[in-house]
């Protein structure tokens, strides 16, 4: 073996050591393993939790999953989340902009928003029956409602916290009121608007699961609840995991869209 090939292999190994096979990665994997270990120990060795399935049982349940069924449920929930979220964005974003940008709109809308906001979205469930007869509409309304306030609030907050020197500078350059909104205020508030959207999509999943558990009209929430009623707890935990995964996927989705709109923020 020549010296140069030896050199490149050792360089490659160094590269691998630096990026993948280092202590940071090991510790991260250990974090997950420790969690599973703690779970197993708690279930196996305490009387309190002995009915809860172990990680191994949950893993085994994965192979009994009917893919057709589970993907239908995932699709249903996703559709509801998406509808609710988009409605929340469509209605919440303009209201947030109005409250943040116009003093009159602020006085007219903000007190009402502030009055309703502290009510937890789940507390609205009984009332939605009066709003809509159609159960699908009830579920979408609840998800919409979960998304609405975080979007309004963060849009409004992002706008009101724009560094005063930026609009001042733009004003000196002779920009008009519409240009000020589109070219200065909204780009400057963009990071917080996306923060709001991320919070919103999280709450949307919360709402959809709660609504589905009650409504019995399919969806992941219903699926989990159904397996609870027939006492198939490995499936319940699996369902919980799938819901978490879906939520994480949506959150990542928002991040990807956000970084596309805010190239200036991830330049390093």
């Amino acid at each position: 073996m020549s010296a140069s090939t030896l050199n490149t292999t050792s360089n490659l190994w160094k590269q691998v050591r630096k990026t993948v096979a280092n202590w940071t990665t090991v510790r991260r994997i250990m974090s997950v393993l420790l969690f599973l270990l703690a779970w197993t120990i708690l279930v196996q060795f305490t009387g309190q939790f002995h009915q809860i399935p172990t990680p191994a049982a949950v893993f085994a349940a994965l192979f009994q999953l009917k893919l057709g069924v589970i993907f239908t449920e995932i699709f249903r929930s996703f559709l509801r989340v998406l509808c609710g979220f988009l409605l929340g964005l469509l209605i919440g974003f303009p209201i947030g902009v109005a409250i943040g940008y116009s003093r009159i709109a602020n006085y007219l809308l903000f007190p009402a928003v502030e009055m309703v906001r502290p009510i937890p979205p789940i507390a609205w469930i009984p009332l939605t029956v009066l709003f809509f007869i159609n159960i699908e509409s009830q579920i979408v309304f609840l998800t919409f409602y979960g998304a609405f306030f975080p979007i309004v609030y963060n849009t409004m907050g992002g706008i009101s916290e724009v560094d005063i020197r930026l609009p001042r500078a733009a004003m000196s350059f002779g920009i008009n009121r519409m240009g000020m909104l589109w070219k200065i205020i909204l780009p400057a508030a963009m990071p917080q608007i996306f923060t709001g959207m991320k919070v919103a999509i999280g709450i949307t999943w919360l709402m959809v699961v709660a609504a589905e558990m009650i409504a019995s009209k399919g969806g992941l929430g219903y699926w989990v609840w159904y397996h609870h009623t027939v006492m198939e707890y490995p499936m319940v935990i699996l369902g919980m995991g799938i819901i978490g995964l879906c939520g994480a996927l949506c959150s990542v989705g928002i991040d990807v869209i956000g970084s596309h709109f805010m190239k200036w923020r991830n330049i390093f």
Partner: protein
């Protein structure tokens, strides 16, 4: 272009400006009168917190005087205008636009030039301030000194009749600061516009100025004006000339007198500051 050599005279006539907080009213400017001559570089110097930024805001049109008048070429200031542009303390570049787009912003906002003209001038100006290789970088990717230079270019492309510099080089390290002063002087000596430069650094003030306005402590008035008759173009060697040292000690004397008066008057203020720090 209008003959900018004889425009841009700023007159403060008995200007009073106070800021109301919930219970107290702080008078920042008290019957303040002075003239900023057109085509000259006037430096405003005074103790920190003496209302220098307020003066900039009044000229730029971001604030209005409570009493008295601020006149530009005989006309009262009505609001912000591209004739009066500010380079702010720290950077106010738009972080979502590249260096190039930041400079293009002014010309495109009002469409006074075609895109081609604006492009040409933008590239020219950025080259002049040494940012030719950083056209398409975002502000966050630039160093403090570079941001300040980009900001200078962003203002200058609009050929304002009055340039307002609000402690623009504050927070830069000594080397960068010196370099920035030289860049700035070169641009000023070419442009012949009216410049108002606010600072709290004596060396910087004398090195840059045609005229020096020394402010009193709050409530502010003009304490003294000095003509700085150092030769132009100014180069760093001026800092060792006999005349520079004379002017500096004269300025120091005036400022020292003011500082003593201020500290004597503000025995109460010191306590207030201390208790403010504690909370």
């Amino acid at each position: 272009m209008v003959d900018s050599n004889h425009k841009g005279e700023v007159v403060f006539e008995n200007v009073t400006r106070a800021v109301q907080t919930k219970k107290t009213e702080t008078i920042i400017l008290d019957h303040c009168s002075f003239v900023i001559e057109s085509g000259k570089l006037t430096v405003l110097i005074g103790p920190s917190g003496c209302g220098k930024t307020t003066i900039i805001n009044l000229i730029a049109g971001y604030e209005k005087p409570d009493r008295g008048k601020v006149l530009i070429d005989g006309k009262p200031v009505a609001g912000p205008d591209r004739e009066r542009l500010v380079v702010f303390q720290e950077t106010a570049l738009f972080p979502w636009l590249t260096c190039y787009d930041n400079v293009m912003f002014g010309p495109l906002a009002t469409k006074v030039m075609t895109r081609e003209e604006a492009h040409e001038q933008t590239v020219n100006l950025l080259e002049k301030v040494g940012l030719r290789d950083f056209l398409y970088k975002y502000p966050m990717q630039l160093s403090g000194g570079m941001m300040r230079r980009a900001e200078l270019a962003r203002a200058l492309i609009n050929r304002p009749t009055v340039m307002l510099m609000d402690e623009p080089f504050r927070g830069l390290d000594a080397m960068t600061r010196e370099l920035m002063q030289e860049y700035y002087l070169r641009l000023v000596e070419e442009s012949h516009g009216t410049h108002l430069f606010v600072t709290s650094e004596i060396e910087e003030a004398i090195f840059l100025a045609d005229r020096l306005i020394i402010m009193t402590n709050k409530p502010s008035r003009v304490k003294h004006t000095l003509d700085i008759d150092l030769p132009r173009p100014r180069i760093a060697s001026v800092l060792r000339s006999k005349r520079y040292i004379e002017l500096k000690s004269l300025t120091l004397e005036i400022l020292h007198e003011e500082a003593v008066k201020a500290s004597r008057a503000s025995g109460k203020a010191d306590i207030a500051i201390e208790s403010g720090l504690r909370t």
